[in-house]
């Protein structure tokens, strides 16, 4: 078991003929993921060489889903077209099979395009959007697994810890920390660092709570917005499994955008210390330093009688 993406999920790649699309689809195939094809408008009928296998290209998502019965799609199209690609994927999954998971990796999408795309996706039950500007989602398997995104597959292993994070490389750090105490992962979700995104912390936490395989969750936040505070409130009321956390940006100055479009303290709101305080008040143990996540997780597992 895992959340949303099973380890043998059938995956399409939107923008598969582009550099990024081909490169990361190849990496996914190497990891053992079931990439079944891709979509690039105008390049339907071609095939793309992904190293260990060649896969077909379609012009439209509806055709690709009809032919492959895909469960998920990874989007690597350039920022100016990404909003439209999300909407196309959502409509196609809805029309052909009534649902699917869309993972948008693209960084730099205009915020108002995401306002339109998320409002479109929200109206379609059964379709889930992860991202944009995120590393993606991975469900490690016994051998291989489903790697939809740009994370390095080899640092993961199948296990019982759920990971959810706003950040990319910090997610890898969290994964490495679980491995340092001999724990693998059920599913790791990068929700992305943009101000407007699809799946949020609470969606992930509630899915992990419901997933019998997941024993505990690592949650990585960063400055900006109030998603961490809202997640903390949800955890206090609904979560029975241990959650450990880390929030990046304790030393970030107000008013300065720290790389991610969403990582900005504005109007005195969205500081790391507020977030950590809210999380700890909700019973989420927070590490002061990413190198301590493993130790904090181990302690939480022990206290819960899971180690």
């Amino acid at each position: 078991m895992a959340i949303w993406i099973e380890e043998d999920a059938k995956i399409l790649v939107q923008g598969i003929t582009g550099n990024q699309g081909t490169f990361h689809a190849t990496k996914s195939v190497e990891f053992g993921s079931n990439i079944v094809g891709g979509v690039t408008p105008g390049k339907g009928g071609q095939t793309v060489d992904l190293g260990l296998k060649k896969v077909p290209v379609w012009n439209k998502m509806t055709e690709a889903i009809e032919e492959t019965d895909a469960d998920a799609s990874a989007i690597y199209v350039p920022p100016r077209f990404a909003g439209a690609a999300i909407i196309e994927a959502a409509d196609a999954f809805n029309e052909i099979k009534g649902g699917g998971v869309i993972v948008c990796i693209t960084e730099g999408i205009p915020t108002l395009d995401m306002v339109r795309a998320t409002s479109h996706v929200r109206a379609i039950e059964g379709v889930r959007l992860i991202g944009p500007n995120c590393p993606g989602i991975i469900t490690p398997g016994e051998t291989g697994g489903a790697k939809i995104g740009i994370m390095p597959g080899h640092i993961h292993a199948k296990g019982r810890i759920g990971v959810v994070s706003k950040s990319g490389t910090l997610t890898y750090e969290a994964v490495a920390q679980t491995m340092s105490i001999d724990e693998g992962q059920t599913t790791c979700v990068g929700i992305g660092g943009d101000p407007v995104n699809g799946t949020g912390f609470i969606d992930c936490l509630s899915a992990f709570e419901a997933d019998p395989q997941t024993a505990a969750v690592v949650m990585i936040g960063e400055i900006g917005g109030s998603a961490e505070e809202e997640a903390a409130e949800w955890v206090a009321e609904n979560m029975s499994k241990p959650v450990v956390g880390f929030v990046a940006g304790m030393t970030a100055p107000p008013g300065k955008r720290m790389g991610h479009a969403g990582a900005i303290i504005s109007g005195g709101k969205g500081t790391a210390s507020e977030k950590v305080a809210a999380m700890e008040a909700a019973g989420i143990r927070c590490a002061n330093d990413p190198s301590e996540i493993g130790a904090v997780l181990l302690k939480s597992l022990q206290d819960a009688g899971l180690r």
């Binding site: 100016r80 306002v115 640092i155 990319g168 970030a252 720290m258 190198s291």
Partner: protein, 402 residues
């Protein structure tokens, strides 16, 4: 990207929104000509910088450093006042709550006609990340520090979420007039204005529009007396006309150079330079340096696929800061291979003749190879296993120099 008030007002005027007559000036002579041309006895003389709190700011002489005037926005009652105020403002440093101690040199001035103000309101449009919708915020408590209003009397700020396709509906506009206690002509003027302002927000891909104050005149007209307009950097590709409004002198030159090289850099006040891949990890690196008693000199994210050249540029940008006494490199190699990074680090330290202590932490893809390359280089590079280890080492190395 932010623009000046005078540029924001020009956009408003173009969109048919109610603003007063005004002239952008760069010299005292231009300011006096503007006064003559406007034909308004009372005018506002407004410093143009990309920061709020101008009215309550303080101006310092750019050479002597002595105070030239209290307040960066002044009401001039005659031509002599215009001359005095423009002289005190132009070329001098304006320090406000938002500029930091260094302040900003004022190179631009806006001379605006006066009006008879009956009441001041607050109005803003932005994107609410939680609801994933544009949000209009309005309050009868305008003209003052809105953050204080939000903290002390949050109920005084009325909020309306707007569907981006539908725009501001008549019902929503009506609701806002009630919240602002507007009636008659003022209410009608407001409804037209808010619908137009929202369209502008969407059309131009604004990240925020803040009007503080929006005013009601004695003639029951609503006027946009302020214009703080910011644009979504990600959408600038479809607005070349907005890109032209960019004032590079308002931005840090190193931050501009970093952006051109595909790096994300923010200068801070400490002495330990940081070079990291990933925004979250870069912030965490700063945090851990602080945890071990050090002070980060910068935020720097080299991105997911940095090459040797970018690493060299990143080092040179870090070293431009004279406060930097040591550097911590923290790379979690995913897509990026650690051996490539190690080679980049060596090339950069050699090219730049780096003498400051350097601690490098490499993990992820090909990290053994990367560490071996660094160890074999014969350069004075310290390696670290974990982020905590790296931070502890760089803090100790810098402390040892003192």
């Amino acid at each position: 990207m932010n623009i000046h008030e005078y540029q924001g007002k020009a956009l408003f005027r173009e969109a048919g929104l109610p603003v007063l007559e005004g002239v952008h000036c760069k010299t005292v002579e231009e300011a006096l000509d503007a006064y003559d041309k406007l034909g308004s006895e009372i005018v506002a003389v407004k410093s143009q910088i990309h920061a709020g709190g101008r009215g309550k700011g303080r101006l310092y002489d750019s050479i002597s450093g002595s105070i030239t005037m209290e307040g960066g926005v002044k009401i001039a009652f005659n031509r002599d006042d215009v001359e005095t105020y423009s002289t005190n403002i132009l070329g001098n440093r304006l320090v406000t709550k938002q500029t930091g101690e260094a302040g900003k040199t004022v190179n631009n001035l806006y001379i605006e006609s006066g009006c008879a103000i009956a009441h001041e309101y607050y109005l803003a449009i932005l994107v609410d990340r939680e609801e994933k919708m544009p949000l209009i915020m309005a309050s009868t408590e305008g003209g003052m520090d809105i953050e204080e209003v939000a903290a002390s009397t949050p109920e005084a700020i009325h909020k309306v979420h707007v569907d981006i396709e539908a725009g501001v509906t008549s019902q929503q506009a009506y609701e806002l007039t009630i919240a602002l206690k507007l009636q008659g002509d003022a209410a009608a003027s407001f409804v037209e204005m808010i619908q137009g302002l929202f369209s502008l927000f969407v059309e131009k891909d604004c990240s925020m529009v803040e009007i503080n104050p929006l005013v009601r005149t004695d003639d029951e007209e609503m006027i946009l007396l302020d214009a703080k307009v910011g644009f979504d950097d990600n959408a600038l590709f479809r607005h070349p006309e907005i890109v032209e409004l960019r004032d590079l002198s308002e931005e840090q030159s190193t931050e501009i150079r970093a952006k051109e090289a595909g790096l994300s850099y923010v200068k801070l006040d400490g002495d330990i330079g940081c070079l990291v891949n990933g925004a979250g990890l870069a912030m965490a690196t700063m945090d851990v340096i602080k945890l071990y008693g050090g002070e980060p000199a910068n935020f720097l994210d080299v991105g997911g696929g940095a090459d040797e050249e970018q690493v060299t540029t990143a080092f040179s940008i870090i070293l431009e800061d004279p406060n930097v006494k040591g550097i911590l490199v923290n790379i979690f190699g995913g897509i990026m291979r650690c051996d490539i990074i190690a080679k980049g680090v060596i090339a950069a330290t050699e090219a730049l003749g780096l003498e400051d202590p350097l601690v490098v932490r490499l993990v992820g893809t090909n990290f053994e190879e990367g560490r071996r390359i660094l160890a074999d280089s014969g350069l004075n590079i310290h390696t670290a296993e974990t982020l905590a280890d790296g931070a502890e080492k760089i803090v100790a190395l810098i402390g040892g120099d003192e």
